[in-house]
């Protein structure tokens, strides 16, 4: 069984191209670009809060003074 497996292993190694496992360049610049390209995701509850605030201001415009005071 071990001998059989060894023969199959050798046959596979001859048939499948070897690969060079050495990294040819520094990937940090590419990682930075990937990080920069990531869009900022706003969670759904932030959108909900913003929507509620706008709705409250539409129905009760005087709340803008309270909001301005707290900001």
């Amino acid at each position: 069984m071990v001998e059989n497996e060894r023969e199959l292993r050798d046959a596979l190694k001859q048939s499948i191209s070897p690969v060079n496992t050495e990294l040819a360049r520094d990937l940090w610049p590419a990682v930075l670009r990937r990080l920069d390209a990531t869009p900022v995701r706003v969670p759904w509850y932030d959108w909900a809060l913003a929507g509620l605030s706008v709705a409250a201001l539409l129905f009760f415009p005087r709340l803008v003074f309270v909001l301005a005071y707290h900001l």
Binding site: L8, V19, N20, D26
Partner: protein, 173 residues
């Protein structure tokens, strides 16, 4: 430990140090699975990006290398699963084709075809265990399965390969 804690808090300088330290290992592992240097570089960048995105889930007392390798393995397996059957990357020698050489080439093609018929789960384990000769426990860690499960997959891959090669008229003992 301090470096990993700073990374988990999102400090980009700490992440840069980790990238420089581990990018070679992640690339080497990925290229062993996907067997294409260009694709392996892209997947390494993707892995590192995912690592940074998932930094909140990383415990600073954990093993960063093992965690990174598992993410890389999952990405590489997804890639192997999605890509079309690959063309041979073997360079054939120039000159007149000799009968022996043609026969050898046919044999290699048959073995390669049989190998690519394996289900992805078996093929990845067979690539790492039989072609790259990695340790079973190393493969098990990267795949998030037990050593026993790795042995079972290797056994099933060998059994399938032997069956198909016998059907193709090649008789691996």
């Amino acid at each position: 430990m301090e470096l990993l804690r700073r990374f988990a808090l999102g400090e980009i300088e700490a992440f840069e140090v980790l990238v420089r330290q581990f990018q070679g290992d992640i690339y080497a592992w990925t290229v062993r699975i996907v067997r294409d240097p260009g694709v392996a570089e892209d997947l390494t960048v993707e892995t590192l990006w995912r690592i940074y995105r998932a930094r909140h889930h990383f415990r600073p007392d954990g093993n960063f290398g093992a965690w990174a390798r598992r993410i890389a393995t999952n990405l590489a397996i997804d890639h192997v699963r999605c890509r079309r059957p690959e063309q041979s990357l073997v360079t054939e020698p120039a000159g007149a084709a000799q009968p022996d050489y043609l026969q050898q080439r046919d044999t290699r093609d048959s073995i390669r075809d049989a190998f690519h018929r394996l289900p992805v789960k078996l093929r990845v384990v067979a690539t790492l265990a039989l072609v790259e000769e990695r340790q079973y426990n190393e493969i098990a860690d990267a795949l998030g399965i037990s050593v026993g499960a790795v042995k079972v997959r290797v056994f099933r891959a060998i059994r399938s390969l032997r069956k198909w090669l016998t059907q193709a008229g090649l008789n691996p003992q």
